[in-house]
Symmetry: D2
Subunit: 381 residues, 4 copies
């Protein structure tokens, strides 16, 4: 048994969605223990959260600086910090954690502006610390298998990438009637200028890139706003062009009734196509050109090492969102163990890094600019 990794959390107090998800993901494989936290800027809420979570009172901090100070003084202090605040705090907290010598696991998007993200990336690269960004969906076993199939040439040269991420929870102006999740996400001060493009579009973009292995060269975005009075986009149409001539389409919407968390990806190549839907994540369709489509199930015989490494239960016993999330935690744990001993940890299929986070910010910023200029082509890097 390798030693359990002690972590602290910033944000994620009671009522926050993603904080609870991180905690469950961290617990699932028993490799982490949450021992400290600055769960809320509201002191009472922070304390209540700590109590519920079984954190020692002394380690329930008022803010992240206090946490970094307090933990630094302990022999059993934390090794890593999970950042689950609204977006505008990501970069500041992360920078301080890195300065304190801690590893960081941070929610996406990395920051609220590309400049801020670039500055953070420089610090992170220099820090010799691990920096993970929770692009959750690359944690799914069959997403990793899809990537492996593409890399192995199973679908040939890629020609087209189709990715969609549709939700409906912002179909009405819920941010104006007390929905906290909606409120900060639609406030440019807290979320940045991007709405759907930043909240979910960046997930779709990362997924497409993760599986296809292709970097887009240019994009064109038409961001729009279905709900009157909303300050950020809630529907994003993006066209992509890749270096090899392939083309992509990306649709992200939070105002598409009937869609809960409908992320779907299809990649088409010269020899075949594959498609995957997050809401039924244990199935991957592979259509070799000229042959019958195959339905590849998680846990099936003969899957790639990448998929098998993150498979907990056999075929037919569904794994879901928390398991995908936990796979990122498992990758992060493996990297931390390697870091402890000075080994290198093979980067293949491990957690998304600061570079992925930065790439996501570049996508968001470029899309925002393209759209503001009327929907024009912009180079992406």
């Amino acid at each position: 048994m390798t030693e359990i990794i002690r972590i602290g959390m910033v944000g994620g107090g009671e009522g926050a969605f993603i904080g609870a998800v991180h905690r469950m993901a961290a617990r699932l494989d028993g490799q982490f223990r949450l021992v400290a936290g600055a769960f809320s800027s509201d002191a009472q809420r922070a304390r209540a959260s700590a109590t519920t979570l079984g954190i020692e009172p002394a380690r329930a901090y008022a803010d992240w600086q206090a946490m970094l100070d307090g933990e630094a003084r302990r022999a059993d202090g934390i090794e890593a910090v999970v950042i689950v605040t609204p977006n505008h705090l990501h970069a500041r907290v992360a920078r301080d954690c890195l300065s304190a010598g801690l590893h960081v696991l941070c929610d996406k998007p990395l920051a609220t502006t590309l400049d801020e993200a670039c500055a953070l990336a420089q610090i992170a690269r220099a820090s010799q610390r691990l920096f993970g960004v929770t692009y959750t969906y690359c944690g799914y076993a069959l997403v990793r298998h899809a990537r492996a199939l593409v890399a192995a040439g199973e679908i040939g040269e890629i020609r087209s990438v189709q990715v969609r991420y549709a939700q409906d929870w912002l179909s009405t102006p819920v941010e104006m009637s007390g929905n906290k999740q909606a409120a900060w996400r639609s406030d440019p001060q807290q979320a940045g200028d991007g709405g759907a493009i930043a909240d979910i579009g960046t997930h779709a973009y990362h997924l497409a890139r993760f599986v296809s292995g292709l970097d887009a060269q240019a994009l064109l975005a038409d961001l729009s706003n279905a709900v009157p009075g909303r300050r950020v986009d809630d529907n994003a149409h993006v066209l992509l062009r890749y270096a090899n001539g392939a083309r992509g389409m990306l649709w992200a919407s939070q105002t598409a009734p009937g869609n809960a968390n409908n992320l779907e990806l299809a990649v088409y190549g010269s020899r075949g196509g594959l498609s995957w839907r997050q809401e039924v994540p244990d199935e991957l369709w592979l259509a070799p050109l000229g042959d019958h489509p195959r339905v590849i199930r998680r846990g099936a015989t003969g899957l790639s090492d990448a998929a098998r490494a993150v498979t907990r239960v056999p075929m037919g016993h569904p794994e879901g969102y928390l398991e995908a999330f936990a796979n990122l935690y498992a990758d992060f744990a493996a990297a931390i163990h390697a870091h402890r001993t000075g080994e290198s940890c093979t980067p293949a299929n491990t957690f998304p890094t600061i570079e992925d986070g930065l790439d996501g910010m570049r996508f968001i910023q470029t899309a925002l600019t393209s759209s503001r200029e009327g929907g024009v082509w912009m180079p992406l890097r």
Copy 2:
């Protein structure tokens, strides 16, 4: 029993896909009889086709002009002509048929250029004859129901339209190895300058317009070419903007392995969303905002008159492509019967007309221009 309508066909000889489809559709309800034809420019093939189809030898003509002449001389001559030639002949044949006083049912696209289509439309409008264009997919009962739901405000104000039409049969350069269907479709002389955009993109565009009831104001197209050496596009990415601020995305591809004839439409509004897939046409999903999605099946109790009018067999007994096609024929027959007696025939839900054909040409031409100019926004009308 109203009198059976006598029709002639131009094109559609042995081996042609769409000619056989038209004939089956025309037969299904027993309202038409195919009695004459100019089935092929190859005289021997034309005769052989006529024999197989049970056409009297005297009415198997060498070309369409001969057919128009020959039939004009008979008391029992044809009343209408079905045009199923390659695209470049559509307009010429149609013009001559109208001049001969015959009704016309013509395949899409209407012509190879917008100018040619405009000229034809002027003739058609002046002709007092019926002109149908076989945008097949609006013949499906549930497509008509979807249109009725939208028109009745069931999904509120439309915000987003997502339409895709994906195939894979042109994933390799089959036009260079003897596939006739592929050969003329990828020859600009016969098909026009558009490939996938004209062959299937126009279907997707028409379907979206038919159901949403919205006319796009502007589009931006990025047409591409997955197969080296192909002379027309085989993958088309199109963005749309509507007058009410709604946005649309349209993807048409003939190089997407795993897709046979995968046309799917989703329309999202302020009160709900709906989606439909051509490959499982007897199901329509309706998601009222905030409630559970409903799976509406063709033949279910309480469907719209528009759907019930084109329902032949009960719920659970699948209808398909030929039935959808036959619905256009049934609409066309009703219009001809009304024309005979001088009655007006309500246009709602009936067959697509010359105006729809013209609109489709405008879409194709604008997309081609937008793409040639690098993928820029162009007004659509």
Copy 3:
């Protein structure tokens, strides 16, 4: 062009479901012409139906005997009769048609009792005339492909057969409130003693046998009655045992809300399994043991001759119930053409015959007896 086959119809007047289905199926390929009929025992309704159908008044007969007499006197008399009456008339009409030297295509079940069916079978065998029974579902292209896969050993030795046919239209006592279809089906005088077991159970049984190629040796039935006051079963549970040790389960219900015409079959063998659902008939799942399941689509490359012979439109253009029905008509036409010239017509994959009809009656009768005796095992042949 071979000569069109002239047919007459008994039953199937206005408002009847299956009569209209037969007529559309007969028309689809242009090989039959309906020229005579005794469409209803109600003379006025019979005449009205004939008028609507474009039948000459002289060939609209008051009853089937009159039709047989009248047509026998004509040089252009009918060659075959389609029987679409309620069940209790099937055998009487069929016998008279055979005596008149005509071919017969008859709805299932063949008769109302096994004795009656046996007597008819003897006459049919001696008649030198063709006798088809419309077990519709074996007309689907992928059902025929499934049969071909089984016959070719693709799934190995069969171990288990699971078949279900569920509907919901009899969930309430609609036969008591004017539903004609329900009224005769639940009247033992007109339908026989079987309800769901005879109306749809026999379809399920035939389908299982058609695909598996196995004859059941014994069955045990538990027939029940969900709707109080109904005179026949509306829910049937049947267990089957086959000679090779394989087992089967068959469920037929007309009181299962949510099911429209949900016929589904799965066959499992030592090397693989396959499954098919009538409501999405253009997909067949084949799961080779230890490999990924394949989704076989109608029209795909490499399908069996049996499937290709009954494929009208390409993959992705759905065919449905009417096409399946028309395939039986096409088989019947081929057999009649062969009969005209004295050739033999290969029996493989052609229409179900009197022997299939008789087998179906044996199934119904044995199930009724088994259930009446409390649900006991009975030999099936």
Copy 4:
């Protein structure tokens, strides 16, 4: 924060499937800590497992008696035991744990014979300790919602229950070639006389009963054996009769190629039907009679308290098998907390108890007897 529950485990050493599942489920919500174990009868394997799991060496015991003794002497001893041994040890271990005053969470089936199960039930009832049996599938949120819908009369009086549990992993004699999971399951000495009927049939039976709320009065079973040489059934066909006249069918198979863990349930009543599939557990179909089917998704607005109580992440973020399992652990934790303070814990929707385990044994035993006698009806209680 209530105090974490300390548990010990018997069985579940390295390589065992279900032991790892229990541990992940126990960890997910942070309410349990595994602190002791007798993980294997093989001492070396037991120690290795303990090390991997981070168990103190002193609390890694050679067998369960040693664990009970050792833990009894500690102030921080375990409060509950999880039993994940092969079936033949369940009852013995459970009895000893109860005698030691510990709560028990035991895998199904409860024992290898009904007599053994009855004896254990008597002890359990007298013990004042909690006894849970892990019928996993009732842990799914939508299964609980289905039960709530039935209980609320949403589908009216139940008429028919259809349940299937199909797998394919025993399609070949893997028990003879080193598959440990298969080896003990097909050894009557370790598993009892039932094969598929006990391993998965009992899950299907429990699920049907949990959702329908109906107790079967009689059953008839036809158990068979697809793989030559196998000592237990691998395919089970069961008919059920309920007190209210409803009927049921149950199919359990481990030799059905293409099925991974395909458990599906449909319940039909006088007012509607519902259906659910374990492999896509976040969807429940509800078909009100005469209306469009609804697709109810886990996390949707307006679901029952029972469903909401076990929902961790929002609609569209799939939960799976481990979450369902964890829901049983959460129920068990709630009951233990209530037990500590002497409160009663509402039984609704909580974990399956010894009575459910006993009921399952009665089902297995009756099915075995029915089948041995040739497939005859037997009263079930």
